[in-house]
């Protein structure tokens, strides 16, 4: 039992616990903070998988930008207190049963279809990750230049769309 395996189990436990916390918290702000912790756990997984750039992007974009946006909207709408109970009382047990089936299926297929002997080694040294980052950036700006540009256009369209959607109508201001 080496150190990284113990670290993995601890972080996996925290990730699962925060996901459960997101599901069952009665306060939307707590749910958002649980999700931030969950994103941080996934970033640790990325570091263990030798993907430092993705880990940092996860922290800055997801845990930073996206969750701040979520918290901002929660505060703006004043919707942090969540009412109990739903209209359909039979829905919750049915959903939990369906989710259990989904988990069993996904776990079985994912574990059965890959070679079970595959062991992912610990990531290399710092110099190693810097050189791999350079290779990744080179690939991004050569082979994947078109998707990169399309992504920039997509972000622009999303920005304009968000402004148009939340803009007050002219007549509604008075």
């Amino acid at each position: 039992m080496d150190f990284t395996l113990i670290l993995f189990y601890v972080v996996a436990g925290v990730a699962a616990a925060t996901a459960v916390g997101l599901l069952f918290s009665r306060n939307a702000v707590y749910a958002a903070l649980f999700l931030v912790l969950n994103f941080a756990c996934v970033a640790v997984f990325y570091l263990l998988l030798g993907a430092p750039f993705i880990a940092m992007a996860q922290i800055t974009v997801y845990a930073g930008a996206i969750m701040v946006l979520f918290l901002f909207v929660i505060m703006l709408l004043g919707a942090e207190k969540l009412p109990r109970g739903g209209i359909l009382p039979w829905q919750r047990p049915l959903a939990i049963g369906a989710a259990a089936i989904l988990l069993a299926e996904a776990g079985y297929l994912l574990v059965q279809r890959v070679q079970s002997a595959a062991v992912l080694p610990d990531p290399g040294s710092f110099e190693n990750s810097v050189s791999s980052l350079q290779q990744m950036a080179y690939l991004l700006f050569t082979d994947y230049l078109l998707p990169f540009e399309v992504t920039s256009i997509l972000l622009l369209v999303a920005m304009v769309g968000a402004i148009v959607l939340t803009r007050q109508a002219k007549g509604a201001q008075r």
Binding site: A16, V42, V61, L69, L120, P121, Y144
Partner: protein
């Protein structure tokens, strides 16, 4: 050499997180929580992507970045999706004064 973490462990964590996200979409009534659960599912898929990319690196013996770049694009698309989705939620709240998905049962305004 039994150092390192088996690929199946990552896949199991990914499956658990994805299931939690799907469960959140099914049982929560608040549109914001449903949206957060969708983010959780995207993250689970990303984790599986990076784990498979790492495993593929092991088989080829040289660095492969396609999986990581795909995750990068998924993160960018998720950012765009969150911007538009939250704008939609704000617009719905303005007209309906609620973000309970059970109340949003009419198709017209």
């Amino acid at each position: 050499m039994d150092l390192g973490i088996p690929l199946t462990h990552y896949l199991l964590v990914s499956a658990i997180l994805f299931t939690m996200g799907a469960l959140g979409v099914l049982i929560r009534r608040n549109a914001l929580i449903v949206f957060m659960s969708i983010e959780l599912m995207l993250n689970a898929a990303n984790l599986a992507f990076v784990a498979f990319a790492r495993s593929f690196e092991q088989t080829t013996g040289q660095p492969v970045f396609t999986g990581q770049l795909f995750v990068f694009f998924v993160i960018a698309v998720a950012a765009a999706e969150v911007a538009v989705g939250l704008a939609l939620i704000v617009a719905i709240f303005r007209t309906k004064q609620t973000i309970d998905v059970d109340q949003l049962s009419s198709m017209k305004g």
